[in-house]
């Protein structure tokens, strides 16, 4: 604690001379009964200057959200407990004041926006009421005056048609619009600090770009300080002043944004950066951080990262390193940071080359004009009055041994396409030919037989495993269903599979809830490859996992592909990961493929305006790129798939759209060269100068 106080003083002294609006000193928060407590936040200190933006980055369980929620008095006590620390807001300690006093500051001086805009707004109250209630509470405004100010704020965050929208309910808005409303709600009292708790995590990448831009603009207009909580180093690289990296409840490294990325000193931060594939450079094999984030149930008396750290030595396991100044406002909590600094990232990564699978030219799967429409029924007799065009005429082939990635934003139909290929969704039209046999619409035994050769890895490793079955039974269930082998041989096979996906044999009799997210996804993969399939559909297999775990799973999928000769259809939205692991990419928009080609070609010379916008919206882990990269921010959101726009589905949002786009549906054209291979684009204007 002494160290923290001294440090806080030192840091204020070396600060930029700006006045600090918030000063957190030695904050520690525990949950649960004493003795078996969870040490969620340990001795966290930071300063926030007026108008500054600070990012707190960490994985799930790192304590980043608990830290800010404690400041706001939002954690439940009990079980939560602030065991030490002060949080001075303009000299007043937020942690010492009674809740009735803190309530006056909450929402007025310090406001907050949350992760999931859909669940963080009250579904049964109008937007207008939710926008005005804070104004009326804090400023005692009349209803009319509060409404006027709320309308101004709606205008500021870019919600058109304010007066009408005020009477609407949250479910009548899209996720991106709701987050704008959430921001308006937070800013309506013109706070001096805005805390943004992963405000874009639940949003698509193009909507994320809109929100980031909006918050940046509002920060300048209103002159507030921002604490941006995120798990994504790349995202915050583009727009914050300073970054604090948290691990297991402690800040392990804190620096001005440039210094953090150019002169990284903490092994954990380095590990995080190595887990992110590059969007531009040639990719070497990803270097994941070994192991999994810790359960913070041990008192913080040692370096929590030591078990996963390549640099760990005896000292790291005995005493906890305190934040130490590296210089220039850069602090790090590592005993060996001086040595770490000299081990450049390239030497640790270059040793391993990404395994290259030999993709043949023979098509394993050919999908032709696949349509999946979900009927909308209305009226007394439930007549079908329309359909949600989830997949609306999609054609592609997957070559034996390759990885084809389907990318796009939520609602584009990529997952439905994957499910239809496996027969989990009944196609309305089209052919699905696997190894020469069309089985679109197949049922019963035929489909069952097909599924021997074709399996799926699901997105959510928490929901897709039966909680009442042991790991061994989950993995072996497919074998039983397909009547493969005897009981004894199936047992042996399950052991093989566990070893293959890197799980200990001892986990066989455990239940899913006893496993970490990464382990669960390994179980999901083992289950999928149990019947020795030729083809795996991976439906966003890593999107629910922590950054450091994602790289582990991606490497596992890569290894299995080479060892077992698998072919993948990879459904995803994380473009940098897709660039890393796919051979070819198909970009989907509103039920259609707009561009498909070799990964290098699509990422190198994207031809469709949507692909370009999508690529430009991806955050890159480089603070300097933020200024030089031209970001194409698309207006609006994805239209309603039950009423797709006429002609090219993308034309209402397209910066290049002309008359023809609204009338004629563009057919895919091959604009590839001999070097880049087939590169199909469905755009009237692709290839124009």
């Amino acid at each position: 604690m002494m160290g923290a106080d001294a440090l806080a003083v030192e840091r204020t002294a070396e600060g930029t001379g700006q006045q600090s609006v918030l000063s957190v000193q030695g904050l520690s928060v525990e949950f649960g009964p004493q003795g078996s407590a969870v040490y969620a936040v340990n001795d966290v200190s930071f300063e926030l200057a007026e108008g500054e933006s600070l990012a707190i980055v960490g994985e799930s369980g790192s304590g980043k959200s608990v830290t800010v929620q404690t400041l706001m008095g939002l954690i439940r006590k009990p079980p939560g407990r602030v065991t030490s620390g002060r949080a001075l807001f303009r000299g007043r300690d937020l942690l010492a004041m009674p809740d009735s006093e803190l309530r006056q500051i909450r929402g007025r001086d310090i406001a907050m926006i949350f992760q999931d805009p859909i669940s963080s707004l009250n579904p049964v109250l109008t937007i207008g009421l939710q926008l005005t209630e804070a104004l009326r509470e804090h400023q005692g405004l009349s209803e009319a005056e509060a409404e006027r100010q709320a309308l101004d704020m709606l205008d500021l965050v870019g919600i058109a048609n304010g007066p009408q929208r005020m009477r609407a309910f949250p479910h009548q808005f899209s996720g991106g619009q709701l987050q704008r409303i959430g921001i308006a709600m937070a800013l309506v009292c013109k706070p001096s600090i805005l805390i943004a708790d992963e405000p874009t995590t639940a949003l698509d990448v193009t909507i994320q770009a809109q929100i980031v831009e909006l918050v940046g603009r509002l920060q300048k207009q209103l002159g507030m300080a921002i604490i941006w909580i995120s798990h994504d180093l790349s995202l915050v690289a583009g727009f914050v002043d300073r970054v604090a990296v948290m691990y297991a409840g402690s800040i392990v490294e804190s620096a001005p944004v440039d210094a953090l990325f150019s002169a990284t000193t903490h092994p954990y931060t380095i590990g995080l950066l190595n887990s992110i594939p590059s969007l531009t450079a040639d990719n070497t094999r990803l270097v994941p951080i070994k192991g999994a984030p810790p359960n913070v149930t041990l008192p913080p008396t040692f370096c929590a990262f030591a078990p996963r750290c390549h640099f760990a030595e005896a000292r790291c396991r005995e005493a906890k390193p305190l934040l130490e100044a590296v210089g220039g406002g850069h602090t790090t909590a590592c005993w060996r940071w001086r040595e770490v600094d000299h081990l450049s990232r390239s030497t640790t990564t270059a040793q391993s080359v990404k395994p290259v699978g030999a993709a043949g030219q023979e098509a394993l799967l050919t999908v032709t004009d696949l349509k999946v429409h979900f009927p909308i029924r209305r009226g007394v007799l439930r007549r079908q009055v329309g359909a949600v065009h989830a997949v609306d005429g999609v054609s592609f082939e997957v070559l034996r041994g390759e990885t084809l990635a389907l990318v796009g934003e939520s609602g584009c139909g990529k997952s439905t396409t994957g499910r239809a290929v496996l027969g989990l969704e009944q196609p309305s039209a089209g052919r699905i030919v696997f190894e020469g046999k069309d089985y679109a619409g197949a049922t019963g035994e035929e489909l069952k037989l097909r599924r021997r050769d074709m399996q799926m890895v699901f997105q959510n490793p928490f929901g897709s495993l039966n909680p009442r079955m042991t790991v061994g039974r989950i993995i072996g269930e497919g074998l039983r269903a397909q009547k493969i082998g005897t009981r004894a041989t199936r047992d042996i096979r399950v052991s093989e599979l566990l070893a293959l996906v890197g799980l200990r044999e001892a986990l066989r009799n455990r239940y899913p809830f006893e496993l970490s997210g990464g382990q669960r996804q390994r179980v999901g993969i083992a289950r999928a490859i149990a019947t020795n399939p030729k083809f795996i559909i991976a439906d966003e297999p890593i999107s629910a996992l922590d950054v450091s775990i994602q790289a582990q799973i991606v490497n596992l999928l890569d290894d299995l592909k080479t060892r077992l000769g698998l072919t993948y259809l990879f459904v995803g939205h994380d473009l940098s990961m897709i660039r890393y692991l796919s051979d070819r990419v198909a970009v989907m928009y509103l039920g259609r493929i707009v561009e498909i080609g070799a990964t290098a070609a699509v990422f190198g010379t994207p031809l469709h305006p949507y692909t370009r916008a999508l690529l430009s919206a991806i955050p890159v882990p480089d603070p300097k790129a933020g200024g030089t990269r031209r970001r194409i921010v698309l207006g609006g959101g994805v239209p309603d798939p039950s009423k797709p726009p006429s002609g090219c589905h993308f034309h209402p949002r397209c910066p290049k759209a002309t008359d023809i786009c609204g009338k004629v549906d563009p057919q895919p054209r091959d604009l590839g060269s001999i070097a880049s291979g087939r590169h199909l684009v469905a755009c009237h204007h692709a290839g124009e100068a």
Binding site: I105, R106, G107, R108, F114, L121, N122, P123, H171, G379
Partner: protein
């Protein structure tokens, strides 16, 4: 919304038809009939007399003819005549239904308000003394059957304490006054309400605990709203949504409960009428009662669906 209502009403036609078949079958399958019920106490009547009486009531015809006759009457809006006193079943029910609705309405409303309030308080004080004692009383409440609760209340408040009357709807001999009527209402309504209040409390507590964990509650707190605003405006509104279902489910059981309670308290509603008609094997009245209850329950379910769409803007019927 309108088309939803129409569809629901269309669906209720076959359901009501099924109800008539079942009701008729049960009434017919009861041992004895109205004629035998009338003569048991008196001197044995001659076979001819019995046959004649049966002929008058139409009981000598084949079952399906009797059923078709009855259905024919119903389609003309006529529920038939009581075998016992010859009065129109429709008139008897119309005369007595208001009493039952008064009893049930007051009981249900009181149960809902008390149960929900206590449930929300219990959730806000989770794992504290208030919560434990409320949960325990709720457990006692759901464990005591209606009739026993009725007897218990009569014993304590009418016989021992002599605070409240034990039966009827008004003091005999006095002219009717609302105050007097309400005094008579308290015990039977309480007997019906306590069990249901306990159920509402359980669901309200569970619902509020779930709502308390929702992110929008955290948002409301982060805005710096008063705790009372957070609970009432943001919390309670959402708790009411699942409670509407419980409310709808409570209605049919309330009819069953009121039969027993009206008997205990001699409350002259349709429940008491039903018991009397069963004793007298007065099948037109029995069938009329069941049919009317079925219609009321169906309408109440429809009202529940409508209440849903009012409380929850996300629900839209089409």
């Amino acid at each position: 919304m309108l088309s939803y209502l129409l569809r629901k009403l269309l669906f209720s036609i076959p359901v009501l038809f099924g109800v008539t078949v079942i009701v008729f079958a049960i009434a017919h399958a009861m041992p004895g009939d109205a004629v035998l019920a009338m003569i048991t106490a008196e001197a044995p009547s001659s076979e001819e007399l019995i046959a004649m009486r049966r002929g008058e009531l139409g009981l000598d015809q084949p079952v399906y003819i009797q059923y078709l006759n009855w259905i024919g009457q119903i389609l003309h809006g006529n529920l038939g005549r009581s075998f016992v006193n010859g009065r129109s079943v429709g008139d008897i029910i119309a005369e007595r239904l208001p009493m039952t609705l008064e009893l049930m309405g007051v009981a249900l409303l009181a149960a809902f308000i008390i149960g929900t309030t206590l449930g929300v308080i219990s959730a806000l004080r989770q794992y504290k003394f208030t919560d434990y004692s409320l949960t325990l009383s709720g457990f006692v409440g759901v464990s005591i059957p209606d009739f026993f609760m009725g007897l218990l209340l009569v014993y304590v408040f009418a016989l021992e304490l002599r605070w409240l009357p034990s039966s009827g709807i008004s003091t005999a001999g006095d002219s009717f006054s609302l105050l007097d009527n309400l005094k008579h209402l308290i015990l039977p309504a309480a007997a019906l309400a306590l069990f249901r209040a306990a159920i509402f409390m359980r669901y309200a507590r569970a619902g509020m605990l779930e709502v308390l964990n929702q992110s929008y509650m955290r948002t409301a707190k982060a805005k710096g709203l008063r705790p009372s605003t957070i609970t009432l405006r943001h919390g309670l509104r959402n708790v009411l949504i699942p409670l509407v279902t419980v409310f709808g489910l409570a209605l049919p059981t309330l009819f069953g409960g009121s039969v027993v309670i009206e008997t205990i308290f001699q409350w002259p509603g349709i429940g008491l009428m039903f018991i009397d008609s069963v004793v007298n094997r007065d099948s037109p009245v029995i069938m009329g009662y069941v049919l009317i209850t079925a219609i009321i329950v169906m309408l109440a379910n429809l009202a529940t669906d409508l209440a849903y769409s009012v409380l929850d803007p996300r629900v839209s019927y089409d």
